[in-house]
Subunit: 295 residues, 2 copies
């Protein structure tokens, strides 16, 4: 059997980023944390933590932390039977979320879940290129993603579609699209991209105007800054409809003709692990998604 | 002399993340891009790009791209004299910004600069642990940061202080602080942290109540989600005052007694490079900061 008290020390150092903060969180001294971690490393014959600022896990350290998270999740289901509720430290669930969901509907689901369940959330911004790996390794237990690829050991639930609307400020329209939105003006007007994977502006230009978009690009890696900079007239771009609509209604944004909206399907990919906390979270996520997303 | 047309191809692959998108951006074929990159790699005897999804630079590739950015920046100052303005592709400035600035005052500076200068912005979210390295290597040309450490080759300008206010929803106050905000309730009430470096909640608890905070923690890596989840009653946390104030006024948030605000000083660290574009950006950043931040 693994030494779980030593493993808990490893988990705390990874979660908190340093031996000192881990000691503080566990209510023991930093030298006790260090001793437990080193002891486990010696018994396993492997380094588990790369000491640094912050401390990060080695591959084996990451695998052990993922295992620890699962053991804790299953243990949490026993707590009521063992009448341990007051004594055990609260469970933390690590979940990856794509930025646009975190900027729109996900906080409602997280709050509904977190307030009721007494379980803590450790949210990570989805990096689609790595989320599948992080799910597979158990580093995160669930993810909201636009990527429908099945992940081994997980089930994937379609949550619905988030509609995206193509917008610019009225002042930007007057400066760049006075002759209309067409191939010619679209190739010159600056647009925004969230990151290198953000192909929605290009897809919109292709579907709405048959244009293969190669225009000046601003790179803005934040959903709200994307919106703020569009309203400020820097560039045009696609925004989640729930964020754009109040600004469209108030005249701060104008929808680019022909008013084509693009639906982005969102999925909930969750570890196949029979644990109450994951089921409660899945229910909260599905219920909130049903309110916000198109089906 | 370096082969700048080949180097521009390397830069485009790094910026766009793939040979195909770089080809599209440069208006040449992917095989022409590939040939230029390979040719330069052979002449230099070094791999410059790690082929993958996305393509990323090697250390030497990164150094060459940083050099290319600086050459472009200086070249941009020549454009009016050479009457090249219409012909050259627009310049892109890569700037790191901390999340709370990007969520509050920075978009106004970015829009003022971007609309006037015809220069594109490539914003990166500040990761304090790496921003100094990225400035030193020239990967970013400037940064908004809370870190006052001088960086070699850069000058640092104090922009002012962003005040932070400690808040919870009225419903959260009733559930967790009905007996008052004190040592005892602060140790049990769940709070939020943005990431592992976010020590502001702990500092507030220490300064306001002499408490060494070790309470249940939700990890929420987005400024707006941090605020949304506080309003939804998940946890208490510190928010930039410009974001929290409308919600305090509307009664959606309550300030935790004793109403102690924490000032976070922000700095503009910018490459020592005499180039018009950087000076214009610095002026826009300083002017907007003077409007928004406390001096």
């Amino acid at each position: 059997m693994l030494d779980y008290s030593a493993l808990a020390a490893v988990g705390a150092v990874i979660r908190e980023g340093s031996f000192e903060r881990a000691a503080h969180a566990l209510g023991i001294t930093a030298s006790a944390v260090s001793q437990r971690v080193r002891g486990l490393e010696e018994r396993l014959g492997s380094v588990l933590i790369v000491r640094g600022q912050p401390c990060v896990p080695t591959d084996m350290g990451r695998a052990l932390c993922a295992h620890l998270d699962r053991v804790r999740l299953l243990e949490d289901d026993l707590a009521p039977a063992l009448a341990l509720t007051g004594a055990v430290s609260p469970l933390t669930l690590k979940v990856a979320v794509n930025a646009d969901s975190l900027a729109t509907w996900f906080p409602q689901a997280a709050a509904a879940f977190g307030r009721g369940a007494g379980i803590l959330l450790d949210l990570a911004l989805d990096d689609e290129a790595h989320t599948a790996d992080r799910l597979r390794s158990g580093e995160v237990l669930a993810a909201v993603t636009a990527d429908p690829e099945p992940v081994q050991g997980c089930r994937t639930i379609l949550l619905g579609a988030l509609p995206y609307v193509s917008c610019a400020s009225p002042d930007f329209m007057a400066r760049h699209f006075v002759g209309g939105v067409n191939r010619d003006t679209l190739m010159r007007a600056p647009h925004m991209q969230f990151d290198r994977r953000d192909a929605w502006q290009a897809r919109w230009a292709s579907e709405a105007h048959g244009v293969e978009l190669a225009a000046p690009t601003h790179w803005i890696p934040s959903t709200h800054a994307f919106l703020d900079l569009c309203i400020a007239g820097l560039a045009w771009g696609l925004h989640p409809a729930p964020l754009a609509e109040p600004h469209l209604a108030a005249g701060r944004l104008t929808e680019l003709p022909p008013g084509l909206r693009i639906d982005v399907k969102l999925y909930w990919t969750v570890a196949r692990l029979h644990a109450r906390a994951l089921e409660t979270l899945t229910r909260a996520v599905c219920a909130t998604a049903a309110e916000w997303l198109d089906n």
